[in-house]
Symmetry: C2
Subunit: 240 residues, 2 copies
């Protein structure tokens, strides 16, 4: 069975959290929108009147006959199938709880450059973006990074991964968040990172995994850019 | 077994989505923070260094020995245990997908009055709140309400509930969103509602369920107020 991933072309966006899981799993998948006529296929599932369970927005994943929307929900489905989640229920819930917290952080990163409206250009909300980003870098990013540092420290297995002794899907997502924050806010992250050594080490550990390393150096990894969630606007990454 | 719900006192907030499920289920639960010394107990789980799986923020639910955080994750746990979710995996995923979409909408409602920083007062971001709310009422609320209207219309069972022929936890959460939008934006909702008759009917259907009706008229239902997610600031609910 080949998975079909549907997500906007040209950006990593929320689709990237799914791609990383599929890549680490060595799963057979197709990134539909990067194929000929793929965007039309994506929009048909989004807007088609005969779609019984329509998604609200990309990404969505077609697996067998099931169409699954919402990034964290897709990972909830993939995790146990590809050895990327704990097997017991309590562990599954803990993994999902961490994933939903990462999703909250990702939403906040998006709103640093779009605090007023997704439908407006960044340039039309730059003043507000500066205010929001200052708060994000001062309060919110440290709160989230400190949280994940604590989770790693309290993992009784060894602290190399968020849960137990092996990698699970929230590790892949936290890797992606760190990569994105490095891209968007290199100056702020240079100041912040020394406080979160476990999180930084996790990022490096995930990047070095053979399948992830191969993926990151392939053309399948879309470069960060100013259309995605993590955007580098130097004026937002100012000195404190 | 008595569930322990931990959430801030004095507001419905995200805790309300859990309360509604517990109430509809007739479950035995305690709203810990409304008891003597409850806030201290909540903060101990949040900040205690011996908590192996610390939550990032309330609400969280203690069930047996499991501590579960993130609203949608708590409902994922409660749903199948209290006949508030489909039993097959595809149905469970669909219910959770709808719940996560409701969570996104709730985040956007919160940001109508706090577009710059949760740590600032509303009065310190009122101008930005006006801009963000105008976009929310013009674009985002119709997009979400139209989505749930379509989901109801496409439910082959009969369209009375979001999924199949009986109530599931996302119905309770969509009820709460409608109640909150009525409270926050009565003028805007009077204009919007006629376009979404199925969503409006769902709200009324849930409100009329015996256990929900009893809950809503009890002192356990905290009134909406200007500390929660759904806030009524007349200047934001302006004419178009």
């Amino acid at each position: 069975m080949r998975y079909e991933l549907y997500y906007w072309a040209g950006i990593q966006g929320r689709g990237e959290f799914v791609r990383l899981a599929l890549e680490e799993a060595g799963a057979d998948y197709i990134d539909v929108v990067r194929e000929a006529d793929g965007e039309r296929a994506m929009l048909r599932l989004l807007d088609g009147e005969d779609v019984e369970h329509p998604p609200f927005a990309p990404p969505y994943l077609k697996a067998e006959e099931v169409l699954i929307g919402q990034t964290a929900n897709i990972l909830l489905y993939l995790g146990p199938r590809h050895d990327l989640a704990p097997t017991a229920e309590a562990g599954c819930l803990w993994a999902h709880q961490l994933q939903l917290t990462i999703a909250d952080l990702v939403d906040e990163v998006h709103d640093t450059h779009h605090p007023i409206a997704s439908s407006l250009y960044y340039e039309d909300q730059r003043a507000e973006a500066k205010r929001r980003t200052a708060d994000f870098l001062e309060s919110r990013a440290p709160k989230y990074l400190g949280y994940f540092e604590r989770v790693l420290a309290r993992n009784k297995a060894d602290g190399e991964y968020l849960i137990g002794a092996s990698l699970t899907y929230p590790d892949l997502s936290l890797f992606q968040v760190l990569a994105g924050l490095h891209y968007a806010f290199p100056r702020a992250m240079a100041r912040l990172e020394p406080k979160y050594p476990r999180v930084v080490a996790l990022h490096e550990r995930v990047a070095a995994r053979p399948r992830i390393a191969a993926y990151l150096s392939s053309s399948r990894r879309i470069p960060f850019n100013e259309h995605g969630i993590f955007r580098h606007y130097p004026e937002l990454d100012a000195d404190p």
